[in-house]
């Protein structure tokens, strides 16, 4: 009989927007680990690793992203244990508590948004897999969206292609979002860019406001599946969501018509979850 797996050590919890990333020390190959079991309870009291109703997930990787957390922030406490090829369970790790970072979609006041912040591309044009239509419909690589006039299902394709996308002509597509403010903002705003997936190429999403550079968002390497699948919330989804929230200085916005432009300057496409501009409460 092979030995019982060792207790998991080095459990660490990294808070992020609407998620908490757990990592721990892998246990090597002998015995082969069938999977790790992650037990979690809300708050700061620790799960005991025996109550199966507290089983949050199983994974073969020494890493797990606890996603879909309340954008306002949630606090959880975790333990992780290993199961061997023979089905034997190791002792649980020491518990770790973490609180996810609050998102501006919960803490701010929505000024304007395209789509719903829900982990899905499904409300957008050509979703979930009609990407081949995008270069046909937007031959100039320019997507224009007028807030209050256009809607996501007809004017905002679910993907923004980039120079890494041969199918879209290897072009840096721009998404130009026009919105009207009743008055010039007195305080900084926040731009939330939530993505359902990106490609293995990663890339840079360049944001400008009224032709002034705001930020270059560095895109993570994604699953390259969001061109064909539109729902990252289904169990076992391999889509790799990412969340980006950046300040738009008050001075870059003014009363009347404003143009926010998102250009995929480098890399492969992004699959939108939603984009929103938020005032600070």
């Amino acid at each position: 009989m092979s030995p019982r797996p060792q207790a998991v050590t080095g459990l660490d919890a990294e808070p992020a927007l609407a998620s908490i990333t757990l990592t721990w020390q892998p246990l090597g190959w002998d015995p082969l680990i069938d999977h790790y079991r992650i037990y979690a309870v809300r708050g700061e009291s620790a799960p005991d690793g025996r109550n199966e109703s507290e089983l949050l997930a199983k994974t073969v990787y020494p890493r797990f992203v606890h996603s879909d957390l309340d954008p306002a922030g949630e606090t959880w406490t975790y333990v992780v244990l290993a199961v061997s090829d023979a089905g034997r369970r190791g002792r649980p790790s020491a518990p770790v508590t973490a609180a996810s970072q609050p998102s501006v979609i919960a803490t701010g006041d929505e000024v304007a948004a395209i789509g719903a912040f829900d982990g899905r591309t499904l409300e957008f044009l050509h979703a979930p897999s009609g990407y081949a239509n995008i270069p046909e419909q937007f031959p100039d690589a320019l997507i224009e969206y007028d807030q209050g006039v256009d809607d996501p299902g007809t004017a905002w394709p679910y993907l923004l292609p980039g120079p890494g996308d041969a199918w879209a002509g290897r072009t840096a597509y721009r998404a130009r979002w026009t919105l009207t403010l009743d008055e010039a903002p007195s305080a900084d705003h926040d731009l939330a860019v939530w993505l359902v997936d990106t490609t293995r190429l990663g890339g840079i999403l360049r944001v400008s406001a009224n032709e002034e550079h705001v930020v270059d968002i560095e895109l993570p390497e994604g699953a390259t599946r969001g061109s064909r699948e539109g729902d990252a919330t289904v169990p076992g989804s391999t889509l790799r969501r990412s969340f980006h929230e950046h300040v738009v200085p008050a001075g870059l916005l003014h009363a009347g018509e404003n143009v926010l432009e998102l250009e995929l300057a480098e890399g492969g496409w992004v699959a939108w979850d939603a984009v929103g501009l938020f005032a600070r409460s």
């Binding site: 680990i33 990787y61 089905g87 076992g236």
Partner: protein
């Protein structure tokens, strides 16, 4: 990969090297004559996943079974309690087992999902034998295998089937039903995608009348999920019938781990240090579920499934691993054309070159998980993504007599001539490639589809059929007869009759495909 034609015997060195399971566990799963183990507590059928033989040699074969009373138990352990179970095996010359020639015992252990891999030795070459397993009072179905002819022996005929791409959820294994009923059959070659890792959901469950529980709806990632996936596919009675009929040898393609993975890299952006853990459990599940020699038992995320064997002086088979050692998908055309790009890795490349150059046999067959022929520059998951590596392999093939490439992956029957240089229209034909369609992947299909033209525009591609089926090949010292069989449907049920899509002969020393 062994340097000689015959795989090496189970060695102490190999046992001590093997990681991921202790040497004792591995050894007992192969041979445990003195082990005393309690019989399983339950009385249900323990052989619900069938039996198999494989890794044939002139003096024997590996026998395989994996005990399961509840094959779809979601922890991947088949409903067997986590204790060792003694599994006796018998080999006889007759189906009634009145003359038992060899017998032994292996230990089915929870570490290996209660799979056993005993190797029977000391048998006569080119002889048919019957085998079965016994656990307590229970007896398995009877399987049969034919030992290979003696090294160098003259062989009048050797027949084998080729199958690939068994997306269980896309349809019935009607192709296996017909293959198991072939009159002449000595071996089956699984050319990759024995399982699929995808979640089985409403959108891809086209096998009418089939239902799966929630545990099957997600992509496989953990060992228990891979084990469960093998169990689901192996419950198919027609697949079991093929395994019981003849020894199986297998190469893998991508879906035994993850769609389009390359070497140590995931196709979905999972970092390599993490993905190694998934590779390790996927490779382990492959070993546990196939009739393989111990050399194929992984050491963590590394393993060696390349192997080969000779059929007397008639044929040499070489089984390639076209996944584990390949470079990643090219980032651009310059990368694709890079002379250093490898599909097989340096060690395997040297191994196959040696095997081909030194081969004494009339026919030389290579099983590759992906298609060798040049089809289009954007089919970068196949050898088309590795043109320099293909040129090196073609050079090696040119040193052997009558090379034949067996491949799968594309879910279509394709018959093609192998050219010394696919870019030179005047290049000589040096062999043939027989691409086997899927058993079930892509459902019913049709003879012609949107990809027909891609393939048939090449002069060296002679046939295309997009239906499901299998390939039957008969080798003799004079010719090879390759029969591409199809069935018209697989989604509704398993009753579709077998049809011949096309049949070719290839004469010895005259490479090409002559339709008959």
């Amino acid at each position: 990969m062994p340097a000689s034609a015959a795989p090496p015997a189970l060695s102490r060195r190999r046992l001590l090297q093997a990681g991921g399971a202790s040497a004792a566990v591995i050894a007992l799963g192969i041979n445990a004559p003195d082990a005393v183990a309690d019989p399983p507590q339950k009385a249900e059928d323990l052989f619900a996943l069938g039996i198999a033989s494989g890794a044939p040699r002139p003096d024997g074969a590996v026998l395989w079974t994996r005990l399961a009373s509840e094959p779809l138990a979601e922890d991947g352990h088949g409903g067997i309690d986590p204790h060792p179970v003694g599994v006796r095996w018998q080999v006889a010359t007759d189906v009634e087992f009145s003359q038992i020639l060899r017998h032994g015992q292996a230990l089915a252990q929870p570490e290996l999902a209660h799979a056993v891999h005993p190797r029977v030795e000391g048998l006569e070459p080119a002889t048919e034998y019957f085998y079965r397993f016994l656990v307590g009072p229970q007896t398995s179905p009877v399987g049969r295998f034919r030992t290979l002819p003696a090294d160098g022996a003259e062989v009048e005929s050797f027949a084998f089937g080729v199958v690939s791409c068994q997306a269980w959820y896309h349809g019935n294994f009607t192709a296996h039903r017909h293959l198991a009923a072939e009159e002449e059959l000595d071996l089956v070659v699984f050319a990759g995608d024995y399982i699929y890792e995808y979640g089985i959901t409403e959108s891809n469950l086209w096998r009418q009348g089939a239902e799966v529980t929630a545990a099957h709806t997600v992509e496989t990632e953990t060992l228990e999920q891979y084990r469960l996936r093998y169990s689901l596919f192996k419950t198919d009675p027609h697949l079991q019938a093929v395994h019981a009929r003849v020894p199986a040898v297998a190469v893998w393609d991508d879906h035994e781990v993850q769609n389009d993975y390359s070497g140590t890299g995931s196709s979905t952006g999972i970092p390599e240090d993490l993905f190694a853990h998934r590779i390790a459990v996927a490779y382990r599940a492959f070993y546990e579920n196939m009739p393989l020699d111990v050399e194929a038992l992984p050491d963590g995320p590394d393993t060696d499934i390349t192997t080969g064997f000779d059929v007397g002086s008639l044929a040499r088979f070489s089984l390639l691993d076209t996944r584990q050692f390949r470079d990643p998908e090219p980032v651009d055309e310059a990368d694709r054309q890079d002379e250093q790009r490898t599909m097989l890795g340096a060690e395997q490349e040297a191994w196959i070159s040696r095997r081909l150059e030194s081969s004494p046999t009339t026919w030389n067959l290579l099983a590759s998980g992906v298609v060798l022929a040049a089809v289009s520059d954007d089919r970068v998951d196949m050898w088309d993504g590795y043109p320099a590596a293909r040129r090196r392999l073609l050079e090696a093939l040119g040193t052997a007599s009558n090379p034949v490439v067996l491949s799968g992956d594309i879910h279509k029957h394709v018959a093609a001539e192998v050219r010394a240089d696919y870019e030179d229209p005047d290049a000589a034909t040096i062999g043939v490639e027989l691409v086997c369609t899927s058993v079930a992947s892509d459902g019913d299909g049709a003879k012609d589809d949107e990809y027909t033209e891609d393939w048939l525009r090449h002069e060296y591609v002679r046939h295309y059929d997009g239906r499901r089926g299998y390939l039957h090949v008969r080798l003799s010292p004079e010719e090879m007869v390759s029969s591409f069989h199809v069935v018209d449907w697989v989604e509704a049920d398993d009753t579709a009759p077998k049809q011949l899509s096309v049949r070719y002969t290839t004469a010895v020393d005259d490479p090409g495909l002559i339709q008959v």
